[in-house]
């Protein structure tokens, strides 16, 4: 019975982490899937979001900037604003670069952000990180605190999904696909390509900041080890590619599936004797790689393909389209 209850709690945790990764993957989907912007610096925006909410929501400490003690909701909004501003700045500098050059530029910028956060010790406590970040619903009794956190993350993902589906099927979404497929044609049709790409970059960056903020609240602690490129950039890319880029459902399924593989693979190896434990940890990484190979061979376009855009959209959607004037 206790065993089953434990597995239930682990499943709740697994889905919460998968949901947070889904937010990051949806952000990358706006940039890469919709618009074709190769952002290799997801970790940078993730870190900005996580640190912003940590500074805004923690109690006063002599170790780092902050002490505002605001509720997590305020921290999450601040995180999205901060990462949007950074994304705007990065976009202004780099957005004209072609795909592969943009990848290199964003990779470099993510590393700069990481080093700044590491060295501005007065603000971030440097390599020691920021501790005792409040977690939503943490004062509820177990398991309700964890279930409530999961529901919060699920609600965020659901709202984002609905909004992004509408965006994707709006005229704005079609312009984005046009820019991705043939930038010269979009330009010839009179679209302000540069501005539209910056907007997509900012939207994606804001979601990555949101993902970082949710992660910081979920694990109650943030330091730069949590924003290492392997788990904060490349894993997100794998999730999007496996799920199917330019498909919001694919982004979500890819995130949950890959996170489940990544996390649950460890359970399979714990039955081995302790002498094997150190080697088995690498076996787990091998297993994940093998599963990826399998999925990508089986579904070369990702599990969910990009859906053909509907040509008709309802007037109400047009009304709310953020870019009607420029389209």
């Amino acid at each position: 019975m206790e065993q089953l209850y434990g597995i239930f709690l682990y499943t709740v945790f697994l889905l919460t982490m998968g949901g947070i990764y889904a937010v990051l993957t949806l952000g990358l989907n706006i940039q890469w899937g919709f618009t074709g912007l190769f952002n290799a610096g997801v970790a940078g925006f993730f870190a900005i979001g996580a640190y912003t909410t940590a500074i805004v929501t923690t109690a006063a400490s002599e170790r780092h900037l902050g002490g505002l003690g605001l509720p997590p909701a305020a921290g999450i909004v601040a995180a999205m604003v901060a990462s949007s501003i950074i994304a705007w700045g990065v976009g202004r500098m780099c957005i004209r670069l072609r795909a592969d050059y943009l990848a290199i530029a964003t990779l470099g910028i993510a590393e700069i952000l990481r080093l700044v956060l590491k060295n501005e010790v007065w603000a971030t406590n440097g390599p020691r990180g920021i501790s005792v970040i409040p977690k939503p619903f943490e004062h509820l009794a177990e398991p309700w605190n964890q279930i409530a956190m999961l529901l919060l993350v699920v609600a965020v993902v659901a709202v984002l999904y609905v909004l992004l589906e509408r965006v994707w099927h709006s005229p704005w979404g079609r312009v984005m696909a046009a820019i991705r497929e043939n930038e010269a044609a979009a330009r010839a049709a009179g679209k302000d390509v540069e501005r539209l790409r910056i907007v997509a970059f900012i939207l994606g960056g804001a979601l990555m900041g949101l993902g970082g903020a949710l992660m910081a609240h979920h694990i109650k602690f943030i330091e730069l080890q949590a924003a290492e490129p392997i788990t904060a950039t490349f894993l997100v890319w794998v999730m999007l590619v496996v799920g199917g880029s330019a498909n919001n459902r694919g982004a979500i399924v890819g995130a949950v599936l890959i996170w489940t593989l990544w996390s649950a693979a460890e359970i399979l190896i714990t039955g081995l004797p302790p002498e094997w434990a150190v080697k088995a940890a690498y076996l787990r990484i091998f297993l994940v790689g093998l599963a990826l190979q399998f999925i990508l061979q089986r579904f070369p376009d990702g599990i969910f393909r990009e859906r053909r855009l509907r040509t008709v959209s309802s007037p109400s959607i047009k009304e709310h389209s953020p870019c009607r004037k420029c389209c």
């Binding site: 065993q3 434990g6 434990a277 940890a281």
Partner: protein
């Protein structure tokens, strides 16, 4: 694929359940992959050695097997929270030892083990912020907090006859933390701090700051800095301008380039530096070193101690109840009681069965937990020796 995984996972769970009758599981979280993977290999081996000592000498409680399940915490708080959740919930660990790295320890403690009421005992986390966690007495560590070094140096200074000192520190987390602890501890001992000034590392000269500090009647300067970024410059400025002649410092200054650049003759008898040390002459260390291949590797003594302490706590609790184990941990580690050294499981088991108090004296040190679940570190004091290198003094 999903079905395969689920089936395999279900199979693993079934195995665990079947084995649970005579296994007692303790989670062993370690950064097996990641930036310190090479160090961790030996630490995990030391933990497993402790488990095999227990199992060879009668096992836990009624002959149950002490089973350590290794989880990979990767030195990353995300990964530590993930693996901690699995150890506590899926493996149903009665206690967690590890993880490595302060950040991973902090994350796992706050979001997994404290809410679940599981006691955690780390071998490598040294960040002072871990002492401040609101932990219901569930977070322990056998690696000394960096803050202890400041106190230790203050005691050295007092013993060596210093009563009035000026303090300057590089404005970073590590040095400012050390300086604050040092100043408080020195004042508590009865000493006087004549001036306490931060300095920005990396400047070309510190004459102005030092002149201000020298205006008090200090007998010496306590200097908390990294030797390269400001420490050597401050020593040179002080000596050239005859502002200060004697210095105290911590391990950030501990480098031979200090002696090379300032000159052994200028420093001999005028500077004392503290540095973490382990008591390699102690009986406990020797008992451990006799059974382990590389006893000198970093933190392996700590790794052995946490795994052995976990077993003692379970034995003392007399059950696999997480709450009882948590409250037994301090009892088996702290004095008074019959002294137990590494490897002496059979002796400890008999003593506990006879209702005696025991006091584990670990390979890494005496291990007396304070109210925060921290231990005091062992530090050595170093001066410039006759051969022009840093030499420990007694």
């Amino acid at each position: 694929m999903q079905k395969m995984l689920l089936a395999a996972a279900a199979g693993t769970f079934a195995l665990h359940t079947a084995a649970a009758a005579d296994d007692i599981t303790v989670g062993s979280a370690a950064a097996v992959t990641g930036p310190i993977a090479e160090l961790v290999v030996d630490i995990v081996a030391a933990r497993n050695l402790a488990a095999s000592h227990v199992n060879e000498q009668g096992g836990l409680l009624d002959g149950d097997t002490y089973r350590l399940v290794t989880g990979d915490s990767q030195c990353d708080p995300k990964a530590a929270v993930d693996t901690g959740t699995k150890l506590v919930n899926v493996e149903q660990a009665v206690m967690v030892i590890g993880p490595n790295c302060s950040g991973a320890t902090n994350g796992m403690a706050q979001s997994v083990t404290i809410p679940a009421g599981v006691v955690m005992l780390s071998d490598t986390a040294t960040a002072p912020s871990i002492s401040d966690l609101d932990d219901n007495d569930l977070v322990f560590r056998v690696a000394p907090s960096d803050a202890y070094q400041g106190r230790s140096l203050a005691e050295f200074a007092w013993e060596h006859g210093y009563r009035m000192l000026a303090v300057t520190y590089a404005n970073d987390d590590y040095n400012s933390g050390l300086a604050a602890v040092f100043a408080t501890a020195f004042t508590e001992l009865g000493g006087t701090i004549t001036g306490n000034e931060a300095h920005e590392p990396g400047k070309a000269s510190y004459r102005a700051e030092l002149a201000t500090l020298a205006a008090g009647d200090a007998e010496g300067l306590a200097l908390f800095a990294y030797f390269g970024s400001s420490g050597i410059t401050i020593l040179r400025n002080s000596l050239e301008n005859a502002l200060f002649g004697t210095f105290l410092g911590a391990d950030g200054m501990m480098d031979n380039s200090v002696i090379e650049q300032i000159g052994a003759d200028n420093l001999r008898g005028n500077i004392m530096l503290s540095q973490p040390a382990s008591d390699t002459e102690g009986a406990s260390y020797k008992a451990f070193a006799a059974t382990f291949d590389s006893p000198g590797a970093p933190f392996v003594t700590h790794g052995y101690d946490i795994a052995f302490l976990a077993a003692l706590a379970i034995e003392k609790a007399g059950s696999t109840d997480r709450g009882l184990i948590a409250s037994a941990l301090r009892e088996v580690a702290n004095a008074p009681g019959m002294v137990i050294r590494p490897g002496e499981w059979a002796k400890a088991k008999d003593a506990i069965a006879a209702g005696e108090d025991i006091n584990y004296e670990g390979a890494s040190g005496a291990i007396e937990f304070d109210g925060n679940g921290d231990v005091a570190g062992i530090y050595s004091l170093n001066m410039v020796g006759d051969d022009g290198t840093w030499t420990p003094v007694n």
